[in-house]
């Protein structure tokens, strides 16, 4: 039912949106501030929006309470309110946080506005809606190969009982033409533009927790944005040290290996995943690689560049390389990439020296509109 107050609620939400936008960069630097709630909802804590007034400073006043207790007894910590909420007189002013729920789409929209991100043009031919069939229905006509035995039998049984030709003593059921039932399929439209994000992260000893935190935060925002641009979005996570493997999301952010770094191993896994599951003709492919830029050997770097140039890049919408600062890394890989692909628009390179720079890196990655 529509209520009169809906206009005011709408206006309030607009204001909240504005606040979120103002604070977005702060959120982008601090991942934990945004909590996922369910599949598609995020909850964002904001300071309570209030109309300022002349009031006494909360700690300065004495208050009157009622109940047991000796002088000197503690009622509650200073931050909160002694007792809970509610009443007017004797109620202490406290800072209520405002929990704002927002859909991921909304958040992405705000993000797009704030960072000035262009809408992504999906690769040409994938705009055509495709479909596949799913056998969900039953029909009275169809090829014998799709005959539904149970339904056919039941139909025949019903008919025989109804017509009185069924004999419980001799339960022979013979289906005739009209009893036959066949499976039919329904057309399930495939999302027009599917995308897959391939995250590659270096988990060798030189990547610390802070570096991983950066990757985690950045990936949340990349996910959020690309999800708003494609109807179907999948993510693939690949970690590597000297060897690479595909893992699930949890493992991706948790794993800490030690040992060397052979980047080409990750590229091989990525190549493999793409070949088997995400052929570039059907998918918009995004490869995001995070590393501290240390590679095992010059030779392997050559190999990496070769794989990228000759095999990977052609299938990708975008190859984004984010180099996180690490006390151990040399950062050489960035320069190598730059030398090789500096003017290739499919390649975006960025350094992320600290959480402060996450928004700029994301903007660099996504503002290509590819």
């Amino acid at each position: 039912m529509a209520l009169k107050i809906d206009t005011d609620v709408g206006r309030f939400r607009q204001i909240v949106r504005g606040k979120v936008r103002d604070e977005l960069r702060k959120f982008m630097k601090r991942g934990q501030m945004i909590a996922r709630k369910g599949k598609n909802i995020v909850s964002i804590p904001l300071p309570r929006i209030d109309i300022p007034r002349f009031v006494h400073s909360p700690g300065g006043r004495k208050h009157v309470g009622q109940g047991e207790g000796e002088p000197g007894q503690v009622l509650g910590p200073a931050g909160g309110q002694p007792g809970q909420g509610g009443g007017e007189a004797g109620n202490l002013p406290g800072e209520h946080a405002l929990e704002v729920e927002m859909t991921l789409e909304e958040l992405a929209e705000i993000m797009g506005e704030e960072l000035g991100l262009p809408r992504i043009q999906p690769k040409g031919k994938k705009n055509v809606d495709s479909w596949h069939g799913r056998y969900t229905g039953i029909s009275t006509a169809g090829p014998e190969s799709l005959r539904h035995f149970k339904r056919t039998f039941r139909q025949a049984l019903k008919r025989q009982i109804a017509s009185g030709s069924y004999d419980p003593g001799n339960p022979v059921v013979i289906p005739i033409r009209e009893d036959k039932r066949y499976r039919t399929f329904r057309r399930i439209p495939e999302p027009a533009a599917n995308a897959v994000i391939l995250y590659v992260m270096d988990v060798s000893g030189s990547m610390g927790d802070e570096q991983k935190e950066i990757v985690r935060i950045a990936s949340f925002w990349i996910d959020t944005w690309l999800r708003s641009q494609y109807r179907g979005l999948e993510s693939v996570y690949v970690i590597h040290d000297a060897k690479a493997k595909e893992v699930d999301r949890e493992t991706f952010f948790r794993t800490r290996e030690s040992g060397g770094t052979v980047i080409s191993s990750a590229y091989r896994v990525v190549q493999d995943v793409i070949r088997k599951r995400f052929p570039p003709e059907d998918w918009n492919l995004y490869l995001f690689q995070f590393s501290d830029g240390d590679n095992w050997s010059r030779g392997d770097t050559e190999e990496c560049l070769r794989i990228l140039r000759e095999e990977l890049l052609d299938g990708l919408n975008l190859f984004a390389y984010g180099q996180v600062e690490s006390p151990y890394g040399s950062g050489q890989f960035l320069h190598d990439l730059e030398g090789a692909f500096g003017d290739d628009e499919r390649v975006v390179l960025a350094t992320i020296e600290g959480k402060e720079e996450i928004p700029d890196a994301i903007r660099a990655f996504l503002s290509t509109g590819r």
Partner: protein, 509 residues
């Protein structure tokens, strides 16, 4: 929508009992609403229509969410109006509705008879709707943001009211500061003592003359200060003197009118709830309850008057105090004889069988507000029995700590908490500060500092209304300061002392 028959009959019974016991109300109209409507009404502070503003929306969202999570449920809402409208939540048990109705009759009686409500607009439902239309019209003409910005500025000073103003006649007659339009008088003349020419420099030395001239000029300046006396009704002052556009004046007058309408409700929270609880218990316990409902009623009622250590429940305090008064006046425990008796045994069995209790509480509900109510009737006995205490923030332990159970301390804290609705006293002392049409406000500092970040925001709001720099003299951490806002940025300076004209507005000689 007419009330379902069951409820209509119930209302008749409740009303019959209420009238029999001496409650006098306007016609009470109940309406049954579902929880979404209830939340909307609550967000609109009880009214079916309010002017468009985001804070209703915020309130509504929070109420709706907390209702969904089962954190609260609004049982009852009643507005001061003729007829008095009250809402019942659809789907409540009949006992709940009975309780709510009796409670509502208590409030309705209080609204009608308490003297602090005498000035309120009894057609406020209509007035609010008109306000809504006016604000909406401004919004449509000028745009949401412009009107909203101004509205927010007005709302941030909506509690800067003069509690006495309502007794001086209709609010629409704005307080008359004498607009002194008389021409600048001649410079003051120092009266010389008569003296022969050759004695002149000795009888009237030139230094003294200069000093005297300066003194008179200073005095003249103070006398010509505008306003002559400090003004509490900041909204009214701005309405009259700020250079506002037509629509701004309209919006400001709406905010002011509504603020004065709600003022007595803030001033009588404890009494109002206490009175309503007194009557719902009395009517239900003695007349309206069925046997089967007693337990549920007791459960429900004790939930309403439950206390928590860090919180003063106005329902509880109010009902207990009314009961105490009724008991004292029934038994004659008041007056000089009682006060002077210090024989504990005699006091314990004191009963003059006066039976004046009922009469007394009706009188009290007529003439008092929370502040005078507690000042007059909070006794040491009561304070001990009700286990009242003072607590405050202990900075060292970083926690709220019980500080004292002494009667004097409790009473002092309680009265401070209720004075001016617990908000700071702010006055306009000079509207031509520095002879530059800047506005000077004064915070009467009774030992508690202002919350500074908000104070600065409010000053900015006032500056946007006054269109000239605005200052506020206050004390911060024991040092006098003059905070301000010049329209672009906040200002702050240390001063010698706050400019404090006497409370009566007398000009220091």
């Amino acid at each position: 929508m007419p009330l379902p028959r069951e409820l209509a009959e119930l209302q008749e019974r409740v009303e019959h009992e209420a009238i029999r016991h001496g409650l006098r109300t306007f016609r009470v109209v109940f309406e049954v609403v579902d929880y979404a409507q209830m939340n909307q009404l609550a967000a609109y502070t009880g009214f079916p229509v309010r002017y468009p503003h985001w804070r209703w929306g915020m309130e509504f969202e929070q109420l709706s969410r907390s209702y969904r999570y089962g954190l609260h449920k609004i049982y009852e809402m009643v507005i001061n109006n003729d007829p008095t409208y009250a809402y019942l939540l659809e789907g409540n048990t009949l006992l709940d509705q009975k309780l709510v109705m009796a409670h509502v009759y208590g409030h309705a009686d209080f609204f009608r008879n308490n003297v602090y409500f005498a000035h309120t607009d009894r057609k406020m439902v209509d007035t609010m709707a008109n306000h809504a239309t006016r604000v909406r019209r401004h919004r449509d003409r000028l745009g949401v943001e412009i009107v909203e910005r101004f509205l927010d500025a007005c709302l941030s000073i909506e509690d800067l009211l003069d509690p006495q103003a309502v007794f001086l006649g209709p609010l629409e007659n704005l307080p008359a500061e004498e607009d002194d339009a008389s021409p600048e008088p001649l410079p003051p003349v120092v009266r010389k003592l008569p003296a022969k020419d050759y004695l002149e420099p000795y009888v009237n030395p030139p230094e003294w003359l200069a000093e005297e001239r300066e003194r008179l000029a200073a005095r003249r300046r103070l006398e010509r200060r505008f306003p002559r006396r400090p003004v509490r009704d900041v909204l009214g002052f701005l309405l009259r003197h700020a250079p506002l556009e037509g629509w701004e004046r309209d919006v400001l007058s709406i905010v002011r009118k509504e603020a004065y309408y709600f003022l007595p409700q803030r001033q009588t929270k404890i009494m109002n709830e206490g009175w309503a609880c007194t009557w719902h218990t009395h009517l239900l316990e003695h007349h309206l309850l069925d046997d089967s409902e007693v337990i549920d009623f007791a459960d429900h009622h004790s939930g309403t008057v439950a206390t928590l250590p860090g919180r003063l429940n106005p329902y509880k305090l109010g009902i207990e105090l009314f009961r105490d008064i009724e008991f004292r006046w029934n038994t004659g425990r008041f007056g000089r004889e009682w006060e002077e008796c210090d024989d504990m045994a005699e006091r314990a069995h004191w009963d003059r069988k006066l039976g004046l209790g009922r009469e007394k509480i009706f009188e009290v509900r007529r003439v008092h507000n929370d502040l005078t109510f507690l000042d007059e009737f909070l006794t040491e006995d009561f304070c001990r029995r009700q286990k009242l205490f003072v607590f405050g923030l202990d900075r060292q332990r970083d926690a709220w700590v019980i500080q004292s159970r002494e009667f004097e301390k409790v009473k002092e804290a309680l009265l401070f908490q209720l004075s001016n609705g617990g908000t700071p006293v702010i006055e306009i002392v000079d509207a031509n500060f520095r002879n530059r049409a800047e506005l000077l406000l004064l915070h009467r500092h009774y030992g508690v500092d202002l919350r500074l970040d908000w104070a600065r925001e409010v000053l900015r709001s006032i500056a946007s209304i006054w269109r000239r720099p605005v200052h506020l003299e206050t004390i911060v951490d024991g040092r006098p300061k003059r905070l301000g806002h010049d329209g672009n940025r906040p200002t702050e300076e240390d001063i010698e002392a706050v400019a404090a004209p006497g409370a009566d507005g007398a000009v220091p000689a």
